[in-house]
């Protein structure tokens, strides 16, 4: 009974929680964080249940309002969407568990709207992943984006301006998607992804189809901050509150990348998209972004800003995997969606911990007193940093490994060089921070730093999600062979 309704139930859980929070919050605001956590836990449980169910007995489809697809709106839980939805739900839960504490201190008096907006954000993301209807995807895209604007606009003094820039860029991206969809709809007369895929095989060479796909691809590239369309990302992520960033940063861009995967390999036939110059462009821009993001990250003196630029580079890996258009590239891209969500969430949580305890996250002010004061947070940071660099057996190594194998298979030396160069650059900017955290004596640099807000390690409610994500990286790394054979290989689209 529950299983058949799972595709609709997952976003609905978040949506209902989002609506209940303001109602309960009006009566007693202290209820809001608990309710958000309960909603996120229920969503994560359903998403994991869906993942198990799909792996065991194949995809599930749900027709909204009892209308069978392609006429009605279809929600699909297949291998890929179940996987990505589970990533979104689990990482969202961890970020939210951490955020309940930081939201109280950093956005006082606004905890109720914050919790409600984060639930709407998760509704939008899970809806985007699960829907089988291209227009419905646009609506969920805007739902998640609007919630993200609200979450990111609260923070430092510059946050509203950075968010305004994100809003105009994001709206331009969504509008381009909608314009592209108009071309495809007028050509095929359907919005259902599977149905459109069938019809597109008959008309795929025609110029409106190519125009439509290009516009949709560019729109999504803007949303996923693909180089050189990433201009909005660093400011928006840096200026927001810790709770806002750690929820939006690991998830927002990944789901846009998922939409590109869906578009190129499921709506379009893989044999057809392989020949598209657009797909090659996505791959090469991804490779360029990998290097550019890493170089910019090295230059940043502030931890959150460095991590934001590193996000640009990591999204490039996913784009490069998509651009390879081979099974290995696909595996690398999907695995990197999972790994990077975990790594970046963990790193942003540590940045939040530093801001909560020290009142800043400026790298020149770090010294080895941090290691004594916050041993667990620093250990989590070190783990995640090693994973980002790509040192086995951490998770980050394996997605890069598959991407490198995919590049070798096609003799794509440019991409391979970008991957290797970026790993070295990753090592430069993470070891720079690790050196300060672990080795540099306290007397240097720290003189100008503001006095710590609180001594010692963060409270348990913030520490548990941080350490759990860091531990998750080790588990995901060690279990990656199982993940690839049991979850990712079965989801490969036919013909790739």
């Amino acid at each position: 009974m529950i299983a058949a309704n799972l595709p609709a139930l997952i976003p609905l859980t978040y949506l209902v929680t989002a609506l209940l929070i303001p109602l309960a919050g009006a009566w007693r605001p202290s209820l809001a964080p608990g309710m958000a956590l309960a909603g996120a836990s229920a969503g994560a449980a359903l998403a994991l249940g869906g993942l198990v169910r799909v792996a065991a007995s194949g995809p599930l489809s749900y027709g909204m309002g009892g209308w069978p697809p392609p006429v009605g709106i279809e929600f699909v839980l297949d291998g890929l969407s179940a996987f990505v939805v589970a990533v979104v739900a689990v990482v969202g839960l961890a970020a939210l568990a951490h955020g309940t504490h930081t939201a109280r201190s950093q956005t006082p008096g606004r905890v109720v709207p914050f919790m409600s907006a984060s639930m709407i954000f998760l509704t939008g993301l899970t809806g985007m992943v699960l829907t089988g209807d291209l227009f419905n995807l646009y609506v969920f895209l805007e739902i998640s984006s609007l919630a993200a604007y609200a979450l990111l606009a609260v923070g430092s003094r510059q946050a509203p301006l950075s968010t305004f820039r994100y809003l105009t860029m994001g709206t331009a991206g969504a509008s381009l998607y909608l314009l592209g969809l108009a071309f495809l709809y007028l050509e095929t007369g359907t919005l259902n992804m599977a149905d459109m895929g069938r019809i597109l095989t008959l008309v795929e060479g025609r110029s409106p189809v190519i125009m439509g796909i290009t516009l949709m691809g560019v729109g999504m590239a803007l949303k996923m901050a693909l180089f050189p369309l990433h201009g909005w990302l660093p400011d928006a992520y840096t200026d927001a509150s810790s709770a806002g960033t750690s929820l939006v940063a690991p998830l927002g861009t990944k789901v846009a990348a998922y939409v590109l995967l869906r578009l190129f390999f499921f709506v379009l036939a893989p044999e057809y998209s392989r020949g598209l110059p657009l797909l090659a462009a996505v791959g090469y821009l991804g490779a360029a972004g990998v290097v550019w993001g890493s170089v910019m990250a090295i230059l940043q003196p502030e931890l959150k800003r460095m991590l934001a630029y590193s996000s640009v580079s990591q999204v490039g890996y996913i784009a490069a995997g998509i651009g390879l258009a081979s099974p290995l590239g696909f595996i690398g891209a999907v695995l990197h969606i999972l790994n990077h969500a975990f790594m970046k969430a963990c790193l942003f949580l540590v940045a939040g911990n530093l801001r909560a305890q020290r009142g800043h996250s400026d790298i020149p002010w770090f010294d080895r007193s941090l290691r004594r004061a916050m041993p667990w947070s620093m250990a989590a940071f070190a783990l995640a940093a090693l994973s980002m660099i790509g040192i086995p057996p951490f998770a980050g190594f394996f997605s890069k490994w598959y991407l490198a194998l995919g590049a070798l298979e096609q003799a794509n030396w440019l991409l391979l060089a970008a991957l290797v160069a970026s790993s070295l650059l990753n090592a430069v900017y993470f070891f720079r921070v690790l050196e300060r955290m672990y080795l540099v004596p306290a007397s240097e640099g720290a003189a100008a730093a503001p006095a710590p807000i609180e001594e010692g390690e963060v409270p348990v409610s913030m520490l548990v999600p941080t350490v759990a994500l860091a531990g998750g990286l080790l588990v995901l790394g060690l279990g990656n062979a199982w993940l690839v054979t049991h979850l990712i290989r079965p989801m490969l689209p036919a013909g790739l």
């Binding site: 227009f135 646009y138 609506v139 805007e142 609007l146 604007y149 609200a150 606009a153 003094r157 510059q158 509203p160 301006l161 968010t163 305004f164 809003l167 105009t168 709206t171 331009a172 509008s175 909608l178 314009l179 108009a182 709809y185 007028l186 919005l191």
Partner: protein
């Protein structure tokens, strides 16, 4: 050349409108003008869907006894119109959020001019 133009006036108009919208978003210094550009862009796309759904002599999509159901081509496809109703709602909500952000920016910097903002942020 002429046959390319004839019957496609609306599309040319919308293409120009889209470009005006992008120009406004990119080139204008005032943030409110950027928003106006964004609204023009969104409107042009909504109109593009509606123009695409236009059908000569098409009737409203309500069953008419004189027309019957034998030829659905006599009726206008209602789907693009309903979709654009949703898109309009989305556009309005985005605009609302954008104005809320502009108010917050104006409160803390006392200006909406982009270059002055950058100067005051330093």
């Amino acid at each position: 050349m002429i046959e390319n133009l004839q019957g496609h006036y609306a599309y040319y108009f919308l293409a120009i409108l889209t470009v005006i919208g992008f120009y406004g978003m990119l080139a204008k210094r005032n943030l409110v003008k950027k928003l106006i550009g964004m609204t023009i862009l969104q409107s042009s796309i909504i109109l593009f869907w509606l123009v695409g759904a236009y059908k000569r002599r098409g009737s409203v999509p309500i069953l008419d006894e004189r027309l019957g159901t034998a030829d659905p081509g006599l009726y206008v496809n209602p789907l693009p119109h309903t979709l654009m109703l949703t898109a309009i709602v989305v556009a309005v909500v985005t605009l609302g959020v954008a104005f809320a952000l502009l108010i917050a920016i104006h409160r803390s910097y006392d200006t909406l001019d982009e270059e002055e903002l950058l100067e005051r942020m330093r």
